[in-house]
């Protein structure tokens, strides 16, 4: 056990701080959920240039080309969080498609797509879920039929985040209807401008349209735009999902929220008494603080295991479940501390933090559901982590 970083890393930390001191003012104030603004793209390019994002992605594909070093990545995250600055863009293209292409794409695909995606110029959406295939993703039915050099796609996706603002989609389709469920799927990448695609925004409970329905009618996609070959889509999708789950349940975010709530409870009053002086609310804050600390230290433990190439086993499997739940509970405390003010929304008078707490409370529930629901996580923890019996096979329809 040694929580000091050592001189090499402290020097690196100093470099990061120097960057922040010099360039911090250029950071975009607000990261939109959909298309990166020009200001955001400029910031992103600056970060790449200095090795502060896309750090380990090879130069030839538009990254910075450093050796992987988990501790340096963590130092960057720590310093940016401490300074309240946005890190690099973390959309689905960058977080999920880029690592997938690096692992499984052809040279041509890597050359063509990775650099503009990293710069925020090309925006991607993830076309996996369908009306009939959510948790049971491998049952998906969207069909791609061979026709000369193309596939012709027909079917529907749903819950497709940011599809309305995306240039491209990475999409799972069934190319071998005769094959077994998991073996008949392929992973295609194509433009959202392709004729035959219709995007219908789906308004969510937050009041915004964060995701969409996407309909495909005779959409023609060149066969070469497949990743890892026909029938290997399930394997590719799992590579992608691994990257998604790493992203959800991040304890740094919980740490930032805890700070915000602590400030809020020192400022806001009820009957003229600060919330922090109210023993019941204060007790809830302290109880959540313990949970945030536990997840942060847990993160350090996983980081150490990753750096040593060890498999932390069950310790890793619980992060999505516990992390998303904790964030949700933090938002709930902020709302409760604000009481009736906590339910104000949109542009109401007396609104706090532009309604962020209600938005988070709702959006977090989406994250508890998306990326593998809490129940699916519990199946994974009990089966893979504790070695309990697998689900019995469903009865044949």
């Amino acid at each position: 056990m040694d929580l000091a970083y050592g001189p090499e890393y402290e020097a690196f930390r100093a470099e990061v701080r120097a960057f922040i001191a010099q360039h911090g003012a250029q950071a975009p104030r607000r990261f939109g959920v959909s298309r990166p603004s020009e200001e955001t793209q400029n910031w992103q390019r600056l970060l790449i240039e200095h090795g502060l994002t896309a750090r380990t992605i090879p130069k030839e594909y538009g990254g910075y080309g450093a050796e992987p070093d988990i501790l340096k990545s963590r130092i960057i995250a720590e310093e940016f969080t401490a300074a309240g600055l946005p890190m690099g863009i973390a959309n689905q293209g960058i977080s999920m498609l880029v690592p997938t292409l690096l692992e499984l794409g052809t040279e041509e695909q890597k050359k063509k797509w990775i650099a503009p995606t990293l710069r925020g110029e090309v925006v991607w959406c993830q076309g996996y879920s369908e009306p009939g295939s959510g948790s049971d993703l491998a049952s998906l039915q969207t069909k791609a039929v061979e026709d000369g050099d193309d596939f012709i796609i027909n079917g529907q996706k749903i819950w497709t985040s940011t599809a309305h603002a995306s240039d491209m989609i990475f999409c799972l389709v069934r190319t071998e209807p005769e094959a077994k469920k998991h073996e008949g799927i392929s992973y295609l990448i194509f433009s959202m401008q392709t004729p035959g695609i219709e995007v219908r925004p789906l308004k969510t409970m937050t009041g915004h349209a964060e995701f969409n329905e996407v309909f495909f009618t005779d959409v023609r996609v060149p066969k070469k735009d497949i990743v890892a070959g026909r029938g290997h889509g399930w394997f590719v999708a799992n590579a992608t999902l691994k990257h998604e789950r790493g992203m959800l349940g991040d304890p740094n975010q919980a740490g930032t929220r805890l700070k915000e709530i602590t400030d809020l409870m020192h400022k806001e009053t009820m009957d003229g008494t600060r919330l922090i002086d109210h023993p019941v609310y204060r007790d809830r804050l302290v109880a959540l603080q313990a949970r945030v600390f536990a997840m942060q230290f847990h993160g350090l433990r996983l980081l150490t295991a990753a750096a040593k190439g060890e498999d932390p086993g069950i310790a890793r499997l619980i992060v999505k479940l516990q992390g998303c739940e904790l964030n949700h509970q933090l938002a709930a405390l902020a709302i409760d501390a604000l009481g009736e003010i906590g339910v104000l929304y949109e542009d109401s008078p007396h609104l706090r933090a532009q309604g962020a707490w209600q938005h988070r409370y709702m959006f977090d529930l989406g994250l508890i559901i998306g990326g593998g629901t809490a129940q699916i996580q519990k199946n994974i923890i009990s089966e893979r982590g504790l070695g309990m019996p697998r689900e019995p096979k469903p009865a044949k329809a």
Binding site: V286, A290, A294, H298, A315, I318, Q322, N379, S382
Partner: protein, 364 residues
């Protein structure tokens, strides 16, 4: 940066675990409990031979000079095996008190005997750490103690006691001192008896060579981390027993572990308890290396692990159905161990309040 156990620490923990598996199986625990024994002498001897009694005592006094994280790993194993042996007071809190506030002579007189396991020290600080009940409290004046101390730890077989008075001063009292009445308190947990001490003009040596107030705080912090580690070990033992039972017990023509309701109970227990391990490790490490954070993290570790332990203890019992409710499978020893740990040295509610005070969020 490395957040994890060293190879030595892993080996240490394994060897304590193996020894306890041998000397302290369920039948041995049951025997000690049925006899209302002060502690199981054979178990204590085996632990002492491994150096557990003197883990935290400096080598010059015959101990191993280890850190609190090592002690936490030992404590986790004691909880895992519901070991009927003293530990928290005699091997952790007393050495910290003597090293922090004892005179050279007091240290020389007692530390070597504690290190070898030859002497056992009880610790009576409940009124300071958990709050005074029944009007208990000890007054010190002119080298004499008067009053009552409740819920003394490792008290039943103790040769000496370290006692906190009402002002936070620490005193050393021999077990056979004149005017001292020792009363056994029977708790749900028969693996670690509690004691009541009544003082009627009892002669006591003050521990006044260092800062006794600071030493008291340190010993309570360390004790809280140990109890959290004990609950962590006991909790994981219960999860493993539940998973194993669910893999064998059949109802409706299939093992109950294939019912999702049962699987999800097990997954929830594991998901809640495993982050407590990271918190306990950090708390123990902070105790040795980060004095500014130590008390806060110790409080958090104690509170969160106690809350999670309660959930695990009842849920693992439920997974065992009616069998979990019986004496037969002995699951209740773990259930009760976790139940006792929760209240000792400060309940979750009390230590969370302390955590708030430490951060300036509440008045003392």
């Amino acid at each position: 940066m490395e957040f994890g156990l060293s190879e030595d620490q892993k080996l240490l923990q394994e060897s304590i675990g193996r020894t306890l598996e041998k000397v302290s199986p369920l039948e041995r625990v049951r025997k000690a409990a049925d006899e209302h024994a002060a502690y199981a002498g054979d178990v204590w001897q085996a632990l002492s031979e491994l150096g557990v009694a003197g883990m935290l005592i400096a080598e010059e006094h015959g101990g191993m000079g280890m850190g609190l994280l090592d002690a936490a790993l030992a404590s986790e194993m004691l909880g895992r095996h519901v070991a009927p042996a003293p530990f928290v007071a005699t091997a952790v809190m007393a050495p910290i008190a003597l090293a922090g506030a004892g005179s050279k002579a007091q240290q020389a007189a007692w530390l070597p005997k504690l290190a070898s396991g030859e002497a056992i020290t009880g610790v009576a600080v409940s009124e300071r750490a958990a709050g005074a009940r029944e009007g208990a409290g000890v007054a010190a004046s002119g080298g004499k103690l008067n009053g009552t101390a409740l819920f003394a730890l490792d008290a039943a077989g103790a040769d000496i006691f370290i006692v906190a008075d009402k002002t936070g001063g620490l005193h050393l009292v021999t077990g056979d001192a004149k005017g001292l009445t020792r009363i056994a308190l029977t708790s749900i947990d028969l693996t670690r008896p509690l004691g009541e001490l009544r003082f009627d003009n009892v002669e006591a040596e003050p521990l006044s060579s260092g800062d006794a107030g600071a030493a008291l705080k340190r010993m309570v912090d360390a004790g809280r981390v140990m109890l959290a580690a004990d609950t962590l070990g006991a909790g994981w033992a219960m999860i493993e027993k539940a998973v194993a039972y669910a893999g064998e017990r059949k109802q409706f023509g299939r093992v109950i572990g294939s019912f999702q309701a049962v699987k999800h109970m097990c997954a929830e227990m594991a998901a809640e308890l495993e982050p407590c391990r990271s918190l306990v490790w950090y708390a123990a490490h902070a105790f040795d290396t980060m004095p500014d954070e130590a008390s806060l993290i110790a409080a958090h570790a104690k509170a969160l692990t106690s809350e999670t332990g309660r959930f695990v203890a009842r849920t693992a019992t439920e997974v065992h159905g009616g069998m979990g409710f019986t004496d037969l499978v002995g699951l209740h020893y773990w259930f009760k161990r976790i139940g006792l740990n929760r209240q000792l040295l400060g309940s979750p509610e009390r230590v969370r309040h302390e955590a708030a005070v430490l951060q300036g969020w509440a008045a003392d």
